[in-house]
C-alpha cells in the first residue's frame, strides 16, 4: 500500500529531496487531515497550489462549513459552487468549493426525488438537520459524495475536469469515521440512490486514486494523534500518502551546540567576544537574555527532533514545512507551496 521510496525524513533546509511518493503522484484525490490547530487548511491550500503548477487545474474543497478557505484567501464566503481563487506557478489554477451539507442534501433530493421546489420550506423547518441527525452517517456520505462527483466529473473531451482534488477534511479525531463510509451506511436504507452513491465513495476512497495526508506539528499531542490515525487508516485499508510536518523550527545552531545550549551550558565567553567583535557591549543582562532565548530554542529543536524520529519510524514519507515567522497569510501559502514543490509535489 505504501511505497518505500522517499521514506527518509527530509530536513527542512535540504532543497532538492524528492519525498513525494509515487502513490501521491498518481492519486487524484488528496484528503488532508490533521489535529486541530496544526494548520491543516493552510497546508491543504499550499498543496493545491503546488499540484496546480504548470497549467494544471486543481479543486480545493472544504467540508466543515467553516469557510476557512475564504478566510485564508481573503475573499468573501464561498457559495456552494466552484470558484477560481488562485493562479499557480506556470499558469495553473486553483478553484475552491465549500461543500454545504444542506445544499448537498437538497441537491440530492432534487436529483432523485424531484424535490427542488420544496427545498426552502424544508430548510426552514430544520429538515436537513433532522435528516442528518437521524442518520449521522448521512452527513459524511453526502459530503464525500459531493467530493467524489468533482473527482470523477469529465468535460466535453471526456477527460477529468480536475487534474486533482484536495479535500480539507475533518481533523484526525474524526477522520476515520468520516472516511469510513461503510459503517455510515449501516444507518442508511439498504437500497436506493444514496446507497449507490455510498458504494461509489467507498470504491474511490480505497482505490489508487485516493491518498490521505496527515498534517502535524512536531509536538507531543499532534504526533501521537498522527501515529494513531496512521494505524487506524491502515486498518481501514486507506492509503496514507504522506505526513506533512508544519511549522518546523529552522535552527542556525550547529548540531554540537544544541545540547549544551538546551542545558544552559552555552559558552558565554565565546558569545561575549562575538558580540564585542560586532560592536555590541556584552553586558551580563544581555548575555543572560540571549542565552535564555537560545536555550528555549534549543530545547524546542531537540524536542522536535525526537518527534520527527517517532514519525520517521512509521515508514510514511515525510514532508516538512518551516514555521513562517511572518504569519500564515496568503503570501505564506505561496511560500509553503514552493517548499512542497521543492520536495517533489507537482513534479
Amino acid at each position: 500500500m505504501i511505497s518505500d521510496e522517499g521514506s527518509v525524513a527530509a530536513l527542512p533546509k535540504k532543497k532538492t529531496t524528492q519525498t513525494w511518493p509515487a502513490a501521491a503522484r498518481r492519486a487524484r484525490l488528496h484528503v488532508v487531515s490533521g489535529k486541530g490547530g496544526t494548520g491543516k487548511t493552510t497546508v491543504a491550500a499550499a498543496l493545491a497550489l503546488a499540484l496546480a503548477a504548470d497549467g494544471r487545474r486543481v479543486l480545493l474543497a472544504e467540508v466543515e462549513e467553516r469557510q476557512g478557505i475564504a478566510r485564508l484567501f481573503d475573499v468573501p464566503p464561498l457559495p456552494y459552487e466552484e470558484r477560481k481563487i488562485a493562479v499557480a506557478a506556470g499558469g495553473g489554477e486553483v478553484r475552491a468549493l465549500a461543500v454545504d451539507i444542506e445544499a448537498a442534501l437538497l441537491e440530492y433530493f432534487a436529483m432523485f426525488y424531484n424535490l427542488g421546489f420544496a427545498g426552502r420550506s424544508l430548510k426552514r423547518m430544520g429538515a436537513v438537520e433532522f435528516a442528518t441527525t437521524l442518520a449521522p452517517g448521512l452527513r459524511d456520505v453526502l459530503l464525500t459524495g459531493k467530493v467524489k462527483e468533482t473527482v470523477t466529473r469529465r468535460g466535453g473531451d471526456s477527460k477529468p475536469i480536475y487534474d486533482a482534488v484536495v479535500m480539507d477534511a475533518p481533523p484526525t479525531g474524526r477522520i476515520i469515521n468520516f472516511l469510513n463510509v461503510t459503517v455510515a451506511m449501516a444507518d442508511l436504507a439498504r437500497r436506493g440512490p444514496i446507497r449507490n452513491q455510498a458504494d461509489g465513495v467507498v470504491e474511490l476512497l480505497h482505490s489508487a486514486d485516493t491518498v490521505v495526508h496527515l498534517v502535524t506539528l512536531l509536538e507531543d499531542m499532534p504526533v501521537t494523534e498522527t501515529l494513531e490515525a496512521i494505524t487506524e487508516l491502515r486498518a481501514q485499508k486507506l492509503s496514507v500518502g504522506s505526513i506533512i510536518v508544519n511549522a518546523a523550527t529552522v535552527t542556525h545552531l550547529g548540531a554540537a551546540s544544541l545540547k549544551p545550549a538546551a542545558e544552559n551550558r552555552l559558552d558565554l565567553g565565546r558569545l561575549a567576544s562575538g558580540l564585542a567583535s560586532a560592536g555590541i557591549d556584552p553586558d551580563p543582562d544581555l548575555l543572560a537574555g540571549l542565552a535564555n532565548e537560545t536555550s528555549d530554542h534549543a530545547v524546542r529543536v531537540l524536542a522536535e527532533q525526537q518527534c520527527r524520529e517517532q514519525l520517521t519510524a512509521v515508514g510514511v514519507p515525510l514532508l516538512s514545512l518551516p514555521r513562517l515567522v511572518d504569519g500564515a497569510d496568503l503570501g505564506g501559502v505561496y511560500e509553503l507551496a514552493d517548499h512542497l514543490a521543492e520536495q517533489g509535489v507537482g513534479r
Binding site: 430544520g126 441527525t133 436504507a189 545552531l253 551546540s257 540571549l290 536555550s295
Partner: protein
C-alpha cells in the same frame, strides 16, 4: 505600554464568592492546561477545587490521575510531583453518554427510563448528536455545583468546531427533540399538508428511503417516551444558564496569538457580553516576549558582521531576531484585539520550551497566569 488593567487571575481564583470558572476557546490553544493550572493554583491557596475536563491529552490526564473516563471527581495524588496543596485538588473526565443516561434516569421512573435507554434512536442522540457533549458538560457542572462540595469548580469546555457551541447546545438539542420535524415524520398525515403542502410528503418519502423505515419508527417511539420529560430538561438547562450568568461564575477565554484563535476569542467575548455572562478576561497563551534588549536592526547588522567569525554568536542572534519578528506579529494581533475589545483584561503566558503535562509544569504555568511566579 498597555494602559488597561491586566487580567488578575490571582484575585479571581482567590475570591470566595466565585465558585465556577469556565475556560473556553478554539481547539489547540491550551484550554485544558489552563483549566488544570488554575485549579492547582486555587488548591494551593487552600481551596477545595474540582477540575472538570472533557478530552485531556493523555499525559496530562495521567498526571491528574485520570486513567479513563470516570464520571465522578477523584482526588489528585501529589506523590512524587512536588508538595501537596494546602487545599484539595479533585479531577474528573466527562463521560458524555453516561451523564445523559443518568439525566434520563433521574427524570423518569425505572421502567420508563429503561425503555428510553434501550431505544436505538436514543443511542444515536446520546452519542453522536453534535452538541450532546457540550450539553452534558454543562449538566455535569450543574450537578457538581448543586452538591456544594467544592469551593471552586473549573470547567473546560469541549473542543468544538466553534467555541460558542456549548452555549447553544442545550437549546439545539431540546428544540431538536421537541421539534416539529420529529412529530411530522413520526406521525405523518395529521395536519401536515397545510404547512408545507405536497412537498412534505415527498420529503417524508425521501427521508424514509434514505434512513430506512426502522429508524423513523424508533424515532417515533422515542418521541412518545420522551414526551413529558422535556419540561424537566428545559428547567435544568435554564438553571445551568442562570448559574453561568450569575456573579458566582467567571469566564476565561483562552487563545494563542494566531489569527484564527483570536478571531474565535473575539466572537466569544462579544457573545458572552451579549448574553450578560461574567467574562473575567482573556488568557493569551504561548507568547514570545523577548528576553534580551537588543533591537532588530542592531541584531541583524551584528549577524552579518559575525557570521563568518563567530557562528555561535550569529546563531544566538538569529534566534533573537526571529523572536523579535514573532513578537512584532503578536503585538500587531494583540493591538487589533485591544481595539475591538477595549475593556477586555488580558494576561499573557509566555511559551514554554516544553509541553506542560505534569503537576510541576502546571504550577509554573499557574504562576505565570496569576503573576505570582
Amino acid at each position: 505600554m498597555m494602559a488597561r488593567a491586566p487580567l488578575d487571575l490571582e484575585k479571581v481564583l482567590n475570591d470566595p464568592s466565585i465558585r465556577v470558572v469556565v475556560t473556553c476557546g478554539s481547539g489547540g490553544v491550551g484550554k485544558t492546561t489552563t483549566a488544570a493550572a488554575m485549579a492547582i493554583y486555587a488548591a494551593d491557596q487552600g481551596r477545595k477545587v474540582a477540575v472538570l475536563t472533557i478530552d485531556p491529552a493523555r499525559r496530562l490526564a495521567q498526571s491528574l490521575g485520570l486513567g479513563e473516563l470516570d464520571n465522578v471527581p477523584r482526588k489528585v495524588e501529589f506523590e512524587g510531583s512536588g508538595d501537596a496543596p494546602s487545599g484539595e485538588l479533585w479531577a474528573m473526565m466527562l463521560d458524555t453518554s453516561r451523564t445523559f443516561d443518568e439525566m434520563v434516569s433521574s427524570n423518569a421512573n425505572a421502567d420508563h427510563a429503561a425503555k428510553i435507554l434501550a431505544n436505538p434512536f436514543y443511542t444515536t442522540i446520546s452519542t453522536s448528536f453534535s452538541g450532546t457533549q457540550e450539553y452534558m458538560a454543562m449538566e455535569k457542572l450543574s450537578q457538581l455545583a448543586a452538591t456544594d462540595e467544592f469551593d471552586l469548580i473549573v470547567v473546560d469546555t469541549p473542543p468544538s468546531r466553534s467555541a460558542l457551541d456549548f452555549l447553544d447546545a442545550p437549546q439545539r438539542l431540546s428544540s431538536f427533540l421537541d421539534g416539529r420535524m420529529i412529530r411530522l415524520l413520526a406521525s405523518p398525515g395529521r395536519g401536515v399538508m397545510r404547512i408545507v403542502g405536497a412537498g412534505f410528503q415527498l420529503f417524508a418519502k425521501a427521508v424514509t428511503s434514505v434512513v430506512g423505515g426502522q429508524m423513523l419508527a424508533d424515532a417515533a417511539t422515542f418521541v412518545q417516551l420522551f414526551e413529558g420529560m422535556f419540561g424537566g430538561f428545559r428547567d435544568r438547562a435554564q438553571a445551568t444558564y442562570d448559574l453561568l450568568r450569575s456573579s458566582r461564575t467567571a469566564f476565561v477565554v483562552v487563545a494563542v496569538p494566531e489569527p484564527d484563535a483570536l478571531r474565535e476569542a473575539s466572537y466569544f467575548a462579544d457573545r458572552l457580553r451579549a448574553e450578560r455572562m461574567p467574562l473575567a478576561g482573556l488568557v493569551l497563551n504561548r507568547t514570545h516576549p523577548p528576553m534580551a534588549d537588543l533591537s532588530l536592526a542592531t541584531t541583524q547588522a551584528a549577524i552579518a558582521e559575525v557570521a563568518g567569525s563567530s557562528p555561535l554568536t550569529a546563531a544566538a542572534l538569529a534566534v533573537h531576531a526571529e523572536r523579535l519578528t514573532t513578537r512584532t506579529q503578536e503585538l500587531r494581533m494583540r493591538a487589533r484585539l485591544d481595539r475591538a475589545h477595549p475593556d477586555l483584561p488580558v494576561v499573557e503566558v509566555p511559551a514554554l520550551a516544553f509541553d506542560a503535562h505534569d503537576l510541576p509544569a502546571l504550577r509554573i504555568i499557574a504562576g505565570q497566569l496569576t503573576g505570582t511566579s
